[in-house]
């Protein structure tokens, strides 16, 4: 599924994409240029807002921080660093011919 042109992404910012089944994916571009995709729903609030979180690092690990209650999620694994038993699903994402795609 096509998300958007790669040019639309901005370093350390997220965008949300809607999938045909109605679910949502948050897609992030890190400062180093890698692209990550996580479920957009924040498991602590139930709101579809992870794409609007601040992207940064915790101890060098790239994370997005939920804008609702501020838990950090590892971009690469979806693991919540504040509540190790919680995580969000990671989606396969790639950039092909300047286009960001979920696979």
């Amino acid at each position: 599924m096509i998300v958007c042109d790669f040019d639309v992404l901005r370093p350390e910012q997220g965008v949300a994409a809607l999938r045909p089944d109605g679910s949502q994916v948050a897609v992030f571009l890190t400062a180093e240029g890698s692209v990550h995709a996580l479920d957009n729903i924040d498991p602590f609030s139930g709101a579809a807002v992870l794409s609007r979180g601040i992207v940064g690092d915790r101890g060098g690990v790239p994370v997005v921080v939920s804008p609702v209650y501020k838990q950090a999620f590892e971009l690469a694994t979806g693991k919540c660093l504040d509540e190790p038993s919680v995580s969000v699903a990671v989606h396969q994402v790639r950039v092909r011919d300047g286009v960001v795609e979920l696979t």
Binding site: A47, V49, V68, K70
Partner: protein, 818 residues
């Protein structure tokens, strides 16, 4: 069956007892003669600062029946019933007498003349004020205070605050004869006489006579004083006019045993009306201690009164005075070590045992900073260094030493709380040990103990910067670095986080770096700033247009109504006199702003760590009592400081008279109108830790007011920690309010011109942030829910109706396994 406790007296000590017992199984009934709620009598002289009773009021206590304005007139101990002045009868299982004391008025002929007052209650001060205001003497008015003790000097200070030059008359050969020795009192006299006081010691008033509108007092020394007002503050006597047929102590007071119990096992007495094993106390700390004893007894305990530490440290007329232990060297063979520095204006005397090993007591005048370390050492071995001239006073305190003498908290209790991790800062220490919640003079010692226990909290902003926010502000200001990436590369590590990014974004905005959603800033902003609206629990946002001063035309009100209706926004009036519209999705925000901006609205910055509102009452325009145009000033202030990014949100209010309908003293900066101009209060807060704002300047005109607010805000923005409200900042500021005044009023640091320039550039560079998005297609493009499906509504957002409006359907939160 519930047992009833009747407390007679609603002073500080009675209040303390109720505070301890209110959650117990006792039903509590309080008789209070004054119609006012309980208040802080220790701080009585500060009432003169702004005549605002609320400043003195003690916290209202739930869980008890308060019968204010109902004097208890008799007690029938056989029936165990208290009778009030209105005839009401209340049965008790336990009765606590906390009737306090009455002023002692020496039998001077003429003492009952109009213009003669006592100094004990808020009402007394109101009456003194009325006398002073009636006095029609041209120039400075003159008063006499009979009594040169602690209370007398307080009264003299109150008179000074009313513009009266006081004569202080003391029978003893020195001021404060109980606490201070001749040497200390000599210095004290010299220091207070610089403050427009005239001190007459070793004499008394032999008569007071009326002469037209004046009072003439003749002193035993032969001197005649020409006066407008006379205040008696020559001491207090236990108040025992409620006669229970119980034995009194040798110097008055209901005689009680060490458990504060009278000969009648159902009747107790505490505070100044009690003679504990025959001894009466005129300080609040022993009274609190008695309240605790009785509370413990009533809860089945066996505590007894431990005896009282009558040490005192106070600032009288700006002069530090402290006295502790055996201040007058009455112990047999006691030695004195005196350092009297007439040039520096300091006096210190330590009293030690005959072998110079044990500290027995001391007197400090002019500089009492060593009091906190010295007092706990009383009765303990004295470090030799202390006895050397200029000896260091920074000494290790023993574990059982009392740090807070008001609430009898030892160093051990405090260090235990710190080391067990229960308390990590002063606020937590106050909450869990109660230390520092009395007079507050031990707070510096609490900070010191925190540091000694290694709790000195790192000032590092987060893992990416070792600097504090204030330091980062100075770095950014000095180096003019304009991007986060340049800053972190040079002065930090890593990529940043949700702590440092918004903090730096705020600093950049405070220093004026264009729109906060500019290319290099947008990724730093927390979601509220990033979408210029307030995120709500279901992922939608709320929109608050600015309504300066809360003043709005019907036309504009209709526009808000139409926008709310058209977008189905839940509408609620805020506490800041504006209107919050809830439930907007990211896509809808620009459309909503467009309609609001077209109607003349702009962003209200409800989402920002920035100025929120300047609330106002209606002021002189409409109000019969208003003395200034509060609405006009509120609008001027709101328009001046709108959009100003700061360490935390800023709230303000302007009241048009002392009735304070705008609640300005609960704000970061609040203005209250006076007959002559404006009073400015700073550092107020509602919320989690309410705090009344402190008076910074009084009776200033609008121009001066704005100048001081400009400086205050910029100084705060430069020096506060991240998310530190002005109240916490002011509490933590070294030197407190006095220092703040030195910086922003007296310009002690010479930075005021700079602060004013910074504010000027904020004011001239201000632009509406909503309009900034609407006029920039690139910024506008970020307001889409889905990058691959612009305009498609977010399927997780749905609403239901409640009281005729749309509210979020609660989200099915996925099972979170913790």
């Amino acid at each position: 069956m519930t047992q009833t406790l009747v407390v007679v007296g609603n002073g500080m000590v009675g209040h303390r007892l109720v505070e301890i017992l209110r959650d117990s199984s006792w039903r509590i009934v309080v008789f209070g003669e004054e119609s006012r709620p309980a208040y802080d009598r220790v701080a009585l002289s500060s009432y003169v600062d702004n005549w605002n009773f609320a400043d003195l009021e003690l916290p209202t206590l739930g869980g008890c029946e308060l019968r204010l304005g109902e004097k208890a007139v008799s007690v029938d101990r056989a029936r165990k019933v208290v009778v009030g002045a209105s005839g009401v009868e209340v049965s008790y299982d336990a009765l606590v007498l906390a009737t306090g004391s009455v002023p002692f008025v020496p039998p001077v002929p003429g003492r009952d003349l109009p213009g003669c007052h006592v100094y004990r209650t808020v009402d007394d001060l109101d009456e003194i004020r009325a006398t002073v205001e009636e006095a029609s003497r041209p120039g400075r008015r003159s008063g006499m205070v009979l009594g040169g003790g602690l209370l007398g000097l307080e009264a003299a200070n109150a008179l000074r605050g009313m513009g009266v030059s006081p004569h202080v008359v003391e029978l003893a050969p020195r001021l404060m004869p109980i606490q201070v020795d001749d040497g200390g009192a000599g210095l004290l006299k010299r220091l207070v006489e610089k403050l427009d006081l005239t001190v007459h010691t070793g004499t008394s008033a032999s008569s007071i006579e009326r002469d037209g509108s004046r009072l003439i007092a003749k002193l035993a020394s032969g001197l005649e004083l020409d006066l407008d007002v006379v205040v008696f503050s020559a001491g207090i006597r236990p108040r025992t006019d409620l006669d229970l047929g119980l034995e009194l102590g040798p110097r008055g007071g209901y005689l009680v045993d060490a458990a504060c119990r009278t000969a009648d096992p159902h009747v107790f007495a505490i505070g100044e009306c009690a003679a504990v094993e025959g001894v009466t106390y005129g300080l609040v700390a022993p009274g609190y201690s008695m309240a605790e004893v009785v509370a413990d007894q009533l809860s089945g305990g066996a505590r007894v009164f431990p005896g009282a530490d009558v040490s005192t440290k106070l600032k009288l007329l700006g002069v530090d005075v402290a006295s502790f232990g055996d201040a007058h060297a009455q112990t047999e063979g006691a030695l004195e070590v005196v350092v009297n520095n007439a040039v520096a204006g300091t006096y210190s005397k330590l009293v030690v045992s005959d072998d110079a090993r044990i500290l027995l007591g001391g007197v400090l005048v002019g500089d009492a900073s060593s009091y906190l370390s010295l007092r706990p050492l009383v009765g303990k071995e004295v470090p030799a260094a202390l006895l050397q001239p200029g000896g260091a006073v920074d000494v290790e305190m023993p574990a059982d030493a009392q740090v807070c003498s008001c609430l009898a908290v030892t160093k051990q209790t405090i260090t235990d709380a710190i080391q067990s991790g229960v308390a990590c800062d002063v606020a937590e220490l106050k909450a869990c040990t109660k230390a520092g919640t009395g007079c507050g003079s031990c707070v510096p010692m609490l900070k010191k103990l925190l540091t000694e226990c290694g709790v000195e909290q790192s000032k590092a902003l987060c893992e990416h910067f070792t600097y504090s926010r204030a330091e980062l502000f100075e770095i950014i200001r000095a180096t003019r670095v304009a991007t986060f990436s340049a800053l972190i590369e040079k002065h930090g590590t890593g990529r940043g986080c949700d702590i440092c990014k918004p903090a730096v974004a705020s600093i950049l905005a405070s220093l004026g770096n264009g729109h906060i959603l500019g290319e290099t800033q947008v990724s730093l902003q927390d979601t509220n700033d990033r979408f210029l609206a307030n995120l709500q629990r279901n992922g939608t946002y709320s929109v608050v247009p600015r309504i300066p001063g809360g003043e709005i035309t019907p036309e504009k009100l209709i526009v808000i109504g139409e926008v709310a209706r058209d977008y189905g926004l839940y509408t609620k009036i805020t506490g800041g006199q504006r209107i919050d519209l809830f439930g907007a999705t990211v896509d809808q925000l620009p459309e909503i702003w467009r309609r609001l901006v077209d109607a003349g609205f702009e962003s209200g910055h409800a989402y920002g760590k920035s100025l929120r509102t300047v609330k106002s009452c209606v002021g002189t325009t409409w109000c019969r009592y208003g003395v200034q145009d509060s609405v006009g000033l509120a609008i001027e202030l709101e328009l001046r400081y709108r959009g100003l990014r700061s360490p935390h949100k800023l709230k303000s209010a302007v009241s048009g008279c002392a009735r304070e309908c705008a609640e300005a003293r609960g704000k970061d900066f609040g203005v209250i109108a006076t007959e002559n101009g404006w009073n400015l209060y700073v550092g107020g807060n509602g919320g989690f830790t309410p705090r009344h704002a402190d008076l910074l300047v009084s009776d200033v005109d609008t121009e001066e007011l704005i100048r001081v607010i400009d400086r205050f805000l910029m100084f705060y923005i430069r020096t506060a920690d991240r998310l530190q409200r002005t109240s916490a900042w002011l509490e933590a500021l070294d030197g407190g309010l006095d220092h703040l005044r030195e910086v922003v009023v007296d310009d002690k640091l010479g930075i005021c011109a700079e602060l004013e320039t910074a504010m000027e550039s904020h004011v001239s560079d201000y632009a509406d942030e909503w309009r900034g998005v609407l006029e920039d297609p690139e910024k506008l493009a970020r307001f889409t829910s889905f990058v691959n499906a612009p305009g498609v509504p977010d399927p997780t957002i749905s609403f239901r109706a409640e009281r005729g409006q749309r509210v979020p359907v609660s989200l099915g939160i996925p099972e979170v396994v913790r």
